[in-house]
Symmetry: C2
Subunit: 353 residues, 2 copies
């Protein structure tokens, strides 16, 4: 992996008018679908709702310095992540993406090339996810870059996944691997800042290639839309949520919403090999670091043991590894079973406080 | 009018967790309607669409230091304005408000009392407008307060108002008065900063009571929802938009979208008396100042002369003064007729550049 030095800033987004910036977005958008009656350029967008579907709505903001750092996040990754975190919420509800509104607050220092790159990253993921950008808002800000995206998806009434349906005895599952994005973020920080010797131990001009996957997972998280849709369609899951704030926090929130406790088996938690080594090299407990770290955007869900058969069908078609990591309990305690001992599940990551 | 000094800061919003802050919002919300299947607390909100209606979607952000100034904008007014600017977009499309998602980026210095005040102002307007807050997002920011609201309204297909339908010969109308909010903002700035002698000329311990209405118009703009709905329902208007960026900019944008020119009669532009005096006392041309100033949130619309009868019915029921200020022309020029002479319409206000 190589990270190129900051490009020459060139012209700034603030040199352009709002109309000129909007035109740079509109010019990058694919043709609008027939259900979009009024698109960008009027006071508001007008759309025809989809028949016989419920609508699923989510908003998430990415703030420079809180959710990413422009110093080591390429513009395309900023745009990708800003949309991916929203699509991940739709995936967690079993919904199919339909449309988005994109609101950006631009600092005066933002190069126009970076603005274009953000839009390119965002539109690439939108197009791949069959999501139409129907409108948005641009403003300047005397502060950090903010990207605020509202997404709307659709879902059949009986296929909605919520956090509230888990029952004692249900198995806890997670998709993909846990902690990879946290390791990737650590690599990016260490490589960019080279702040302390231990951060960069064993790293020369570029980060080890074995960590490329982790870095990619942080920069370009892939929302589990297909898995979420299949879990809803097969009615295999009793509850589901996405792991924006890490596994530990996810288990805590899902259990609270469903009124159950949970017991998580540390040995079962799927870490990828390079991520595990990254945590261990830094002297930490790999499992602990992985489950308190955020940004995974995997799905955490519960399955009634009676319905394991349905889950197998999902596993075959869902294009994601599914791992049973524990189970829900009638006792409201949240436990991590590690080395044969139960300990309290650690507090998770929070972007807020 | 009196403006109280900044209150003792007290506890800060950043002392609370995201969950505690969300609870302060949820606890202030009225009961949810039956069409809200999943509300605040899950990965996303789930709603039942309204039958036989198109959906109208808009997003607008308010940034401290750009769109308002916490130094002289009370928290309730910040919350009110953040929603009002969005509702004004719905009004301009002829839509009826339905739901909103509220995304806020909170600086560490925000007192919790101010957070509560913002939410109170927002919910008061939402409740009065029969709009349900179905979800949102909270994050911290190392910078200014940002409030980003997405609203969705509904409208019958044949009642959508756009900017594109004006034809040469159509009359140009504006609701209410123009420039009052700009005067109100000027009063607030002058009273708060008392920066230069001419700013505060004639002002003692409090601003003149005659300017209270202007200050109110800036702090608590009233979106023209009833008027917009009636214009759509009666099919009286050929084009419509709201005046977030002032009358001059509005005429420019509506004319461009419809492919016409416009001639505006300066003497016809409705200024309120106190606002006019405020501009004149500062040595400006009142009409010029009023039409380049933003924040009016009145409706600008065009009416075919054949349909003036329909407009009369709207005027009787719309609870807003409607004033004919000029007409659309086949020639694409944008003119302001003042003292018997045509001059180019001045460039309007823009929040962006």
């Amino acid at each position: 992996m190589t990270i190129s030095p900051a490009a020459d800033a060139g012209p700034l987004a603030s040199d352009l008018t709002e109309g000129e910036l909007i035109a740079r977005i509109s010019g990058r958008l694919p043709a609008a679908p027939a259900w979009l009656a009024v698109g960008i350029g009027d006071d508001a967008a007008v759309v025809e709702p989809e028949r016989n579907r419920l609508e699923v709505l989510s908003v998430d903001a990415l703030v420079d310095g809180v959710h990413f750092d422009r110093a080591f996040t390429p513009p395309a990754a900023i745009g990708h992540r800003a949309l991916a975190v929203n699509l991940s919420d739709l995936a967690a509800m079993g919904a199919t993406p339909r449309l988005a509104l994109v609101s950006m607050a631009l600092p005066g220092s933002l190069p126009i090339g970076d603005f274009d790159g953000i839009i390119d990253g965002l539109i690439a993921l939108a197009t791949r996810s069959r999501l139409t950008i129907v409108g948005g808002n641009l403003t300047r800000i005397g502060g950090p870059l903010v990207i605020d995206i509202t997404v709307i998806g659709t879902v059949k009434r009986r296929q909605v996944l919520t956090r509230t349906g888990a029952r004692a005895g249900d198995d806890l599952y997670v998709s993909g691997t846990v902690g990879s994005a946290t390791a990737g973020l650590g690599v990016l920080r260490a490589w960019t800042k080279r702040s302390t010797p231990e951060d960069t131990e064993g790293m020369s001009a570029s980060a080890p290639a074995e960590l490329d996957d982790c870095v990619q997972r942080y920069l370009y998280p892939e929302p589990r839309l297909r898995l979420g849709a299949l879990l809803g369609h097969n009615r295999a899951a009793t509850a589901c949520m996405d792991l924006s704030d890490g596994l530990a926090e996810g288990v805590r929130q899902l259990a609270a919403a469903s009124g159950v406790g949970a017991s998580v088996d540390a040995d079962a938690i799927p870490l990828d090999r390079a991520g595990r080594r990254w945590f261990e090299r830094r002297g930490g407990d790999a499992v602990h670091e992985a489950i308190i770290g955020g940004d995974d955007y995997e799905l955490l869900f519960t399955v009634s043991p009676r319905l394991r058969g349905r889950l197998k069908a999902v596993g075959r078609h869902g294009a994601a590894q599914l791992t049973r990591i524990g189970s829900c309990t009638a006792d409201r305690a949240l436990l991590l079973r590690q080395d044969g001992k139960d300990q309290p599940l650690p507090r998770g990551f929070t972007h807020f406080r």
